[in-house]
């Protein structure tokens, strides 16, 4: 089995002392309206947390400025839940009300912003690991990245389905902050996925109408997970 794990440093990145969690929640089409809700009421991660609902085009540097975050003084944990298109994390492409605005996307973060951090990136987006993960691994040090190297799927249902995604997001973020090695991080997150898969096991298909697709998508995410510590 190939573990899509790369690491330059086995231990946790050194701390600048200040840590802030940025929950990047673009909300501009059906999927992102769903995924943005997954970041609401995010459980405590042991550091100040800012939910940034992104409904108009914005880039990472502008968002930091808007939130008065100095990346040279503060370590940022970016948890981004939306669209990805190599080589970027993507946000809304136009102002609300603009024709076809729900079909348009723009770059929120790409390698132009690597010098601004974040120290930790959890990218719940399609294909974020393909180019962006590669850039983080190649061009930075002391960073941690968790993302997917393929297109991923979602069952956009509330209730147990959404709760499952929330557990994955929170558990993965917590693991990213606590893991001392890249391998313990990978092990922790894969365990979270296994627990999620078992909660939608085929025995429960009578309970969950979309259980089959949920398993298929979770397994696809599990296969596409990529772990990087530069």
């Amino acid at each position: 089995m190939t573990h899509k794990t790369t690491t330059h440093s086995q231990t946790s990145p050194a701390s600048k002392g200040n840590l802030i969690i940025l929950l990047g929640a673009p909300s501009h089409d059906n999927l992102t309206e769903y995924t943005s809700k997954l970041l609401e009421d995010f459980p405590d991660l042991g550091a100040p947390t800012l939910l940034c609902r992104i409904e108009t085009p914005v880039t990472y540097d502008t968002l930091l400025a808007q939130k008065s975050i100095d990346p040279s003084q503060t370590e940022v944990v970016l948890i981004y839940c939306g669209h990805g298109e190599p080589p970027s994390l993507q946000g809304p492409g136009a102002l609300p009300g603009t024709p076809n605005c729900r079909d348009l996307q723009s770059v929120f973060y790409d390698e132009r912003f690597l010098h601004l951090g974040p120290t930790f990136v959890l990218a719940f987006c399609c294909s974020a690991a393909i180019d962006l993960g590669y850039s983080i691994d190649r061009k930075t040090t002391g960073r941690t990245f968790v993302g997917f190297d393929e297109q991923i799927g979602w069952v956009m249902k509330t209730g147990d389905y959404a709760d499952c995604y929330k557990r994955i997001l929170h558990g993965s973020a917590l693991a990213m902050l606590r893991a001392t090695t890249i391998h313990s991080l990978e092990k922790s997150i894969r365990e979270i996925y296994r627990a999620a898969l078992s909660s939608f096991s085929s025995e429960k298909d009578g309970q969950y109408e979309w259980g089959l697709m949920m398993r298929a998508y979770l397994r696809k995410q599990l296969e596409a997970l990529t772990f990087i510590r530069s």
């Binding site: 999927l31 393909i130 590669y134 190297d149 979309w210 298929a216 397994r219 696809k220 296969e223």
Partner: protein, 272 residues
């Protein structure tokens, strides 16, 4: 049947959905043989003689067209671009394709190998058997070319592709000791493959048709959202999205058959 073919008899197994492969090599005979072989395995095959020609193909066809790209590393007089340079400098064009670089020359530096690893690219050397036998036998005994390709390319390439893609390339290899086992005729095997593929498509469509709100967009894949009826159309028309879902369904079946083994392997892999 030649002795080589007897020793490495191949049989077509289930091969769905039909993936597309791009093979880049300056050796025309290799390309011709590889095209024959991988077509037989169920791949749609495109070929290019140089990285430049391949780049044009990728730009014309769009990314995500190919599931697998195999490239030579050294193109001799035809191009100064190395295969690994081509791969690293054009990642955006490769989409989700898994990439294999085959080199008959020395390996690139460790730093380059590291970059290739990060780009999910497998690098391996052609061994002397692959090089020498292809040249020698294809030139002297052209009628045996197919058998040689079966025996050598299957060994050196197909297994690797199966490893990195996580899906069978549609062949199993049997040695001389197993040659007596019964084998279906190629036509029957292809028919079986198509039959299984259609059954999987039918199973998924049938399952989607029984959803309670067939027009409600409940699913998202990539950038788009889909209702059950949307996905039925994707599967019926065998679009990339539709076939990806058939493949995921196949993955679910595969997983249900080997879950205990996989779990134990994972535990071992993570042991401190």
């Amino acid at each position: 049947m030649s002795s080589v073919a007897e020793a490495f008899e191949t049989e077509i197994a289930v091969s769905i959905p039909r993936p597309r492969i791009l093979i880049i090599d300056d050796d025309e005979k290799f390309l011709e043989g590889a095209r024959d072989y991988f077509s037989m395995c169920g791949y749609d095959v495109d070929t290019a003689f140089t990285p430049e020609e391949a780049k044009q193909i990728l730009e014309d066809k769009g990314k995500d067209k190919y599931q697998v790209i195999i490239t030579d590393d050294n193109f001799g007089k035809l191009s100064k671009t190395k295969g690994h340079q081509f791969v690293l400098e054009n990642q955006a064009l490769f989409g989700k394709a898994k990439t294999v670089i085959i080199s008959g020359a020395e390996q690139p530096t460790l730093a380059v190998l590291k970059q290739l690893e990060n780009a999910h690219t497998l690098f391996f050397e052609k061994n002397t058997t692959l090089q020498a036998k292809l040249v020698e036998i294809t030139e002297r005994e052209s009628q045996k070319r197919t058998a040689v390709i079966e025996s050598i390319v299957v060994n050196e390439t197909a297994r690797r592709i199966a490893e990195i893609t996580g899906r069978p390339v549609g062949v199993t290899i049997r040695g001389a000791g197993a040659a007596a086992a019964p084998a279906l005729a190629p036509e029957s095997k292809r028919s079986l493959s198509e039959s299984v593929g259609n059954r999987l498509k039918g199973t998924l469509i049938k399952w989607l048709r029984t959803r309670s709100e067939p027009d409600r967009p409940v699913l998202a894949f990539g950038k788009r959202t889909y209702s059950a009826n949307d996905l039925i159309a994707e599967v019926s028309n065998e679009t990339d999205v539709g076939l990806a879902h058939v493949q995921m369904l196949l993955g679910e079946f595969e997983h249900s058959l080997r879950i205990e083994e996989d779990d134990s392997q994972n535990d071992d892999a993570f042991a401190d």
